[in-house]
Structure formats: structure tokens, C-alpha cells
């Protein structure tokens, strides 16, 4: 292999390598994330940005090193001391191990843990609790009503149009439950706890602007919570394959100020 040809190609490939590193790092740094409208969502974005910086730097450094070596050693000339001792090779492993452990565990334990606590920790006393049930292919939303208690539901009583949640009218607590199809209405700046169930297959309650996602498993009540920080309407989608309507299981979360919310709530009629 003529050394001239190899050298030229080596330079070319090295440039490609560095270009890929730069292009990908640049691409990641563009603002792809949609706006954030919840408290813990800011923390989630914080973890993502931390990872972009830390892994981005390492990624770039790796590509620069690779590109440099490809260029330098594409020269067809004798290289001395290519093989090194086992000890040196072992010592060379120390840096990547420490670097990766530091970067990744700091992400999980230092940057991530406080956010984890916001999502999974205890809710404050003034939290609003709602129930959302996923079914093929819509979201049913339930409010406990003035008594503050969610009434009994019975799967045998479920009827798609007449009684989608299967409310048991023999239970007095169920009499004042409010049921909405596809719309969650909540006040801003207050913790909203969502109890999640499913009537048929696994769905997943996700509100991208809140950075909220929680699967709804049949036979189990899952729980998530968030504190909306902006008023407005935010899309609700399904994030677990649930059948042919998975792509159109759309709902929305309407966030109002406290006054408007109380007014709205008082105007709602119970389902039964």
C-alpha cells in the first residue's frame, strides 16, 4: 500500500471522525426539549442538561482522540513500542472507569435523587387527588366530589356510554363523584396526585410538558404527582402500546388559577 495514498485517506477519515463528533455534539445542544410546565419537570431537564454537558465533552474528546490517532498512524512508517506491559494497560483502565463512574453516578445520585424525591415522595396536605383510568382508547378522569372520597367501582358495572367507570350507585361515596372523558382540570401551583388504573391493557399516562409519565397497569393502582407551574392546556398522550388506537389516545390537562378552578369544580355535576 503506497504510503501517500494511505496518508491522504487517513487525513480524510480523521476529518470525518472529528466532524461526526462535532456534528452530533452540536446537534444534541440544540433546544429540542419542549417547554417545561411543572416543578419536578425543571429537575428532569436539569438531569438531561447535566448529561448533555458531561457526556458531550467525553464524546467529543473520544472522537478527537480517535481522529488524531487515525491521522497520525495512517503514515506507513515503523512504530516502536506498540506493545506495553500489562501493568500499563491496567493503569490505563483506571481513568475511564473513574470518569464514567463519576459522571454517571453523580447523575443518578446527586443530580437525580432530589428530583426522584419530588416525584415519588410524600404529597403535601393540600394536594388535589384525582383518578385517571386508561382504557382502549381514551382517558377517564374522576374527581372525588365534595365528600372527598372516591366511591366504589365495580368492573361488572362498566358500560362504555352509561357508566364508563363502573360506579357503584349503592355506595354513597360514589354518588358525588365527577367523571370527565379525556380532560384533566387542575389548579396551578398546587400538587396534583394522580391515581392511575386501567380497564383493559397497559397504558401510560404521559404529559410531556410536565415531564410526567406513569404506566397504568390493570389490577394495580399506580400513583404519580406533579405541580403545574403554568396555566394553559397541555397534551396528554399514551406511552405504552395498547392496541390499534394507541396513537390517538389523546387527552388534555387544563391548568387554571385557583379561583377559576374552585369555580369550575363547584359547577360540575356528578356522574350518577
Amino acid at each position: 500500500m503506497a504510503s501517500g495514498k494511505s496518508r491522504g485517506f487517513g487525513l480524510f477519515f480523521a476529518i470525518v471522525t472529528v466532524a461526526i463528533g462535532v456534528a452530533v455534539a452540536w446537534g444534541f445542544s440544540r433546544g429540542w426539549l419542549p417547554e417545561v410546565a411543572s416543578e419536578h419537570g425543571k429537575g428532569v431537564d436539569g438531569v438531561i442538561h447535566y448529561l448533555m454537558w458531561s457526556t458531550g465533552v467525553l464524546f467529543l474528546v473520544g472522537h478527537l482522540a480517535l481522529g488524531y490517532f487515525i491521522f497520525k498512524y495512517s503514515k506507513d512508517q515503523a512504530q516502536a513500542n506498540a506493545a506495553v506491559s500489562h501493568r500499563t494497560e491496567a493503569k490505563a483502565a483506571i481513568a475511564p472507569v473513574l470518569a464514567m463512574m463519576a459522571v454517571s453516578e453523580i447523575g443518578v445520585l446527586v443530580v437525580g435523587l432530589p428530583v426522584f424525591d419530588e416525584i415519588y415522595g410524600e404529597a403535601p396536605a393540600d394536594a388535589i387527588t384525582i383518578e385517571v383510568v386508561g382504557k382502549q382508547f381514551e382517558w377517564l378522569v374522576r374527581y372525588a366530589g365534595p365528600d372527598g372520597v372516591f366511591g366504589k367501582v365495580d368492573p361488572k358495572l362498566v358500560h362504555d356510554s352509561r357508566n364508563p367507570l363502573g360506579l357503584d350507585k349503592k355506595d354513597p361515596a360514589a354518588k358525588d363523584d365527577i367523571v370527565k372523558r379525556g380532560v384533566v382540570t387542575i389548579p396551578v401551583d398546587k400538587t396534583c396526585v394522580v391515581n392511575l388504573r386501567s380497564h383493559d391493557v397497559i397504558h401510560s399516562f404521559t404529559v410531556p410538558f410536565f415531564r410526567t409519565k406513569q404506566d397504568t397497569l390493570p389490577g394495580f393502582t399506580a400513583r404519580t404527582k406533579f405541580v403545574p407551574t403554568k396555566e394553559g392546556q397541555f397534551e396528554l398522550a399514551c406511552a405504552e402500546l395498547c392496541g390499534l388506537g394507541h396513537y390517538r389516545m389523546q387527552g388534555k390537562v387544563v391548568v387554571m388559577n385557583n379561583e377559576d378552578y374552585e369555580k369550575w369544580l363547584s359547577e360540575q355535576e356528578s356522574w350518577l
Binding site: 419542549p34 498512524y73 483502565a93 454517571s104 426522584f116 363502573g166 415531564r211 405504552e240
Partner: protein
């Protein structure tokens, strides 16, 4: 009884159909994988066309789209990548690199291939049955996969899927047992475990990982079959309502299936990726004319990855509703894997340091592998961190990540391996120019496709959606979709150049010598093409380590084969 020296088979059937020769069986696997790849890739093209179509005029109905998604995943993971890289190349390379005549059990080997063939028929045939092919994702979560009422594909289609997977697991287990026995028992005289090429190490680990983790999926598949056809409730709880009627099941837990599935599912991705990493090391050594940097540390890293891979499966289940503190354990454990992976990645880069690079086609693919492992590996950290995973779960970020790791790395490994070991199998070279065209069209395109998917995921775009038009939250990510679709056509079309090169070169390729790459490992010690029995009357001995290259010497003189 380890190996029999049998005189060669005579009839067409015994030579090419029911062959016991590991090279023929390996080629059978490889060609079957290419065939299944046409289907798996075709499904991808259909999906991309659907995603680029107007919502008023979709290519396929939504229930069909999710069958395409499901079968694309199933076919590619098991019937293309595993078949080509693990079964195909594993069979071809292990005896050759160990200096053995064949696998420890050639009959078991033949059986393992012929078990896969009906599985392929079941998988392809499932598209033609009532209700269509399975549509619950390659992950087949119940209740969706357990109930025909939930989606049409969960009728006969899902049953055929389960039957095919049972056959696949049986075949893989037979192969895995053979690999382990051969590697432990059939090495050339003088070859200790630490004298094996890294490729063989990775096959050893893949075989162990696979044989120990597939049983969890077997258990899950048996229970799912019983829930579907036997009236049991392993995964089905009470309270399931379809058509306003409650189903008679009670007491089961859908989450149990996920634990069992991912107990296999996570090690499975390492089973797939490890051989590509091993092959990258071996190819780089040959074309940088120096031993891989840190052989021992790489072996230890591979072992660590293997062990760790078995205790981190829950990172696929962070938001399922399992105890979030258990989730935190899985998060902390998963990110530990970045450490040995970083060692492997840096060792690959350092394997060029003080080398003398020859830019032949296999080397191009190997260098590409290093870059993709970087992107895929770093991207994985976003998913391994439970808090960020809340946002990325079921988004295109995940799709981009796993395609880079088990799609692109493995594909680059398979291609690099085919160009590299082609002369060993056929005594001829593949065309170098077409190979370079293949690389330069495939690599940038396929890499870009999946990097763009990471951006789509960042914007919030969700996966397994037949159509994203009703939502606005991922508007920015959606603008990337047409580009991804066009690049998909480029990648798909380019593979025909490769297939043409492969098949024509078998008969018309430039005749190669026995060791055209001037490589050291034992497979190059025998004639090319390798005859039945691999080496002629005398088996090679391992008189040296596997990588005695010396870039201080001139070409022709810069290597000492392991057999000499």
C-alpha cells in the same frame, strides 16, 4: 468423544443441506439471516413510508402498522442479528480460531440450524393468518398479547409468534451449549483461555449469557400460552373489561411478565453486541498491525459487562409502577456498566495508537463501530438514569439508542466480518471498490437516521405511533421524519450492492491466498477456502499469543502467526 475426524460428505444433501460442517451451517445461518433481513428491512421501509404519509391517506391501517412494528423488531433481533452474528459467524469462526476441525457436537449443530427453519416459516407465515401477525410489540406484554379482544394480532398471530420463539430458544440453547463445550474443550494444543482471540471470548460470554437468561423468557412464554389458551391467569388480573363484559380472569400480574421478559431481554442485547465488539478488536489488530491494547483488561471488562448485564433488567421498567426505590437500585447498577464499556471503547481507540493503519474495507467498518459504541453508549446513560428516563421512556430516544447499539454496531460488525472472513470461506476476495461504496453509503446514512431519532425523542416524539399528526408537543421532532425516511431508502437500496458483491464474488471474486490480510490468528493458518476439516492432516498448535504484530517491522515481516 469430542471431535470425530470424518471423511468428507459426498452427496449434495449431506454437503449442503443437512451438513455437519460448521462452516456450511454457519453459512446457512448467515444466508437465512440475509433472507429474513430482506423482510425485516422491508418492514422498516413500510413503517417509514407510513410515517411519511399523510394521515388522510395512510399506507396501512393502524392495527397493521403495529404488526409491522412488532414483527420488524422480532425478526431483526432474533432472526437477523442473532442469526447472522451469533449463530452464523459464531459457527464459522469458533472452530477455525481455536484450531479445531469442527464444533464439539456437529450433529447438535446441524439440529440447531434446522430448528430455526420452521421458526422462520412460522414468523413469516403469521402475516397471512386471520388477524394478522402479532401486534403487541416484540416485547409482547400481556394483557395486550394475551387477549385476542385487545388487538387482532393477538389471535393466531401471537400464538405463532410464541411457537416461533420457543423454537428459536431451543435452537439458541443447542448452539450455546455447543459453543461453550467447544471453547472449553477443543482449543489447539498450547492455547490457554487467555491466548484466545477476543472474538472467541465474546462468543464464549454470549453463549453463557444466553443459555442462562433465555429460560426466563421460556417460562414467561409458557405462562403466556397458558393464559391465552388454557384459561389460566398468570398475568391477567381481575377487572379486565372488553365490550362491556368483565373477563373471567383473576389474580394475575402483568408486571411479572415484564420482569421475566427483561431478565432475558437485557442480557440478550449484550449477547448480540459482544461478538461485534470482539470482531472489531480482531479486525483492528490486523489492519493497525499491532496487538489490541489492553487484551487482559478487555477480557475483564467483557466479563464485568456480562455479570452486570444480568442484574440490571429493571431499567426497562422504571415507570411501570414497580417500587421506585427498586427502580433506583436498577438505575445505580445500570450506570456501572458504563465503566467497563468505557475501558473497551478506549482500548479500541488505543489499539490504533502506534500502529500502521491499512484502510481496507473491514477496517472501515471496525472504525465505524468505535464511533457508534460511543454514541450509543453515552446515549444509554440518559435512559439508565431513572429520572431522565421518565421523559424518554417509550420515545424515539429509546428507539434511536437501541438501534445504534444492537442494529448499527452489530450490522457494522456483520459487514466487517463478512468482508474480512470472506476469503477464508471462499478463497476469493470481495470487490474492494464496491465494499468502499457500500461503507460510505451505509455508515453515514444509518448513523444519521438514529442520531436524528435521539433528537426526535428529546422533542418528545413517542414510539409505536401509526401517525403523530394529532399531537403538537413534538412538532420540532416531527420535522426530522422525512429526512429519516429518505435516508432509510438510501440504506435499504445500498444493501443490494452488498448482496450483489457477496454472491458474485463467491464465484468471480479475485482469488485470495491462504492469508490475504497477513493476519496472525489460527483461522488463517490453514488453506483458504477452508476445506472440510479446516487444516489438512495436521492440526495447528498455538505456539504464541494471538496477536503478535510488530509495527516496528516492514510489511510482510511484521507479524508472527499464532501457529508458528
Amino acid at each position: 468423544m469430542a471431535i470425530e475426524e470424518h471423511h468428507g460428505p459426498q452427496s449434495f444433501i449431506s454437503k449442503y443441506v443437512f451438513s455437519f460442517d460448521h462452516k456450511v451451517i454457519g453459512l446457512q445461518y448467515l444466508i437465512t439471516a440475509m433472507f429474513m433481513g430482506l423482510f425485516g428491512g422491508g418492514l422498516a421501509v413500510l413503517m417509514r413510508i407510513q410515517l411519511a404519509s399523510s394521515p388522510d391517506d395512510p399506507l396501512v391501517a393502524p392495527e397493521t402498522y403495529i404488526s409491522l412494528v412488532t414483527m420488524h423488531g422480532t425478526i431483526m433481533v432474533f432472526f437477523v442479528v442473532s442469526l447472522a452474528l451469533v449463530s452464523g459467524f459464531g459457527n464459522i469462526l469458533i472452530p477455525l480460531m481455536l484450531g479445531a476441525r469442527d464444533m464439539a457436537y456437529p450433529f447438535l449443530n446441524m439440529l440447531s440450524y434446522w430448528t430455526i427453519v420452521p421458526a422462520c416459516f412460522l414468523v413469516l407465515g403469521s402475516f397471512l393468518v386471520e388477524g394478522g401477525a402479532a401486534a403487541a410489540g416484540w416485547t409482547a406484554y400481556p394483557p395486550l398479547s394475551a387477549l385476542p379482544e385487545a388487538v387482532p394480532g393477538s389471535g393466531l398471530g401471537q400464538t405463532l409468534w410464541l411457537a416461533a420463539m420457543t423454537l428459536f430458544i431451543a435452537s439458541f440453547t443447542m448452539g450455546g451449549l455447543n459453543y461453550i463445550a467447544t471453547i472449553l474443550n477443543c482449543r489447539a494444543k498450547g492455547m490457554r483461555l487467555m491466548d484466545m482471540p477476543l472474538t472467541v471470548w465474546t462468543y464464549f460470554l454470549s453463549a453463557i449469557l444466553g443459555t442462562l437468561s433465555f429460560p426466563a423468557l421460556t417460562a414467561a412464554a409458557i405462562m403466556l400460552m397458558l393464559d391465552r389458551h388454557g384459561g389460566t391467569s398468570f398475568f391477567l388480573p381481575a377487572g379486565l373489561v372488553f365490550g362491556n363484559e368483565e373477563l373471567p380472569h383473576e389474580g394475575g400480574t402483568p408486571l411479572l411478565f415484564q420482569h421475566l421478559f427483561w431478565f432475558l431481554g437485557h442480557p440478550e442485547v449484550y449477547v448480540l453486541v459482544l461478538p461485534a465488539i470482539g470482531m472489531a478488536f480482531d479486525i483492528i489488530a490486523t489492519f493497525a498491525r499491532r496487538p489490541p491494547f489492553g487484551y487482559r483488561m478487555s477480557v475483564y471488562s467483557l466479563l464485568s459487562v456480562g455479570v452486570l448485564s444480568m442484574v440490571v433488567w429493571g431499567h426497562h421498567m422504571f415507570i411501570t409502577g414497580m417500587n421506585p426505590y427498586v427502580g433506583e437500585y436498577f438505575s445505580i447498577a445500570t450506570v456501572i456498566i458504563t465503566a467497563p464499556f468505557a475501558v473497551l471503547g478506549l482500548n479500541m481507540i488505543a489499539s490504533i495508537w502506534r500502529g500502521r493503519i491499512r484502510f481496507r474495507v473491514p477496517m472501515l467498518f471496525a472504525l465505524g463501530i468505535i464511533m457508534v459504541i460511543g454514541a450509543g453508549g453515552f446515549g444509554g446513560i440518559y435512559l439508565a438514569t431513572s429520572v431522565s428516563d421518565i421523559y424518554f421512556h417509550d420515545s424515539y430516544f429509546v428507539v434511536g439508542h437501541f438501534h445504534l447499539m444492537i442494529g448499527v454496531v452489530t450490522l457494522m460488525g456483520t459487514f466487517g466480518g463478512i468482508y474480512y472472513w470472506f476469503p477464508k470461506l471462499f478463497g476469493r476476495m470481495m470487490n474492494e471498490t464496491l465494499g468502499k461504496v457500500h461503507f460510505w453509503l451505509t455508515f453515514p446514512a444509518i448513523y444519521t437516521i438514529f442520531i436524528l431519532m435521539h433528537f426526535q425523542g428529546l422533542s418528545g416524539l413517542l414510539r409505536r405511533y401509526a401517525d403523530h399528526s394529532i399531537y403538537g408537543f413534538a412538532e420540532v421532532g416531527k420535522t426530522l421524519a422525512p429526512t429519516i425516511t429518505y435516508l432509510t431508502f438510501v440504506v435499504a437500496g445500498t444493501q443490494f450492492i452488498f448482496l450483489f458483491n457477496f454472491f458474485v464474488s463467491i464465484w468471480r471474486g479475485k482469488v485470495a491466498g491462504d492469508n490475504p490480510w497477513e493476519a496472525t490468528t489460527l483461522e488463517w493458518a490453514g488453506p483458504s477456502p477452508a476445506p472440510h476439516g479446516n487444516y489438512g492432516p495436521t492440526l495447528p498448535e498455538a505456539k504464541r499469543g494471538p496477536y503478535e504484530y510488530d509495527p516496528a517491522q516492514e510489511a510482510g515481516n511484521d507479524f508472527a502467526p499464532q501457529a508458528s
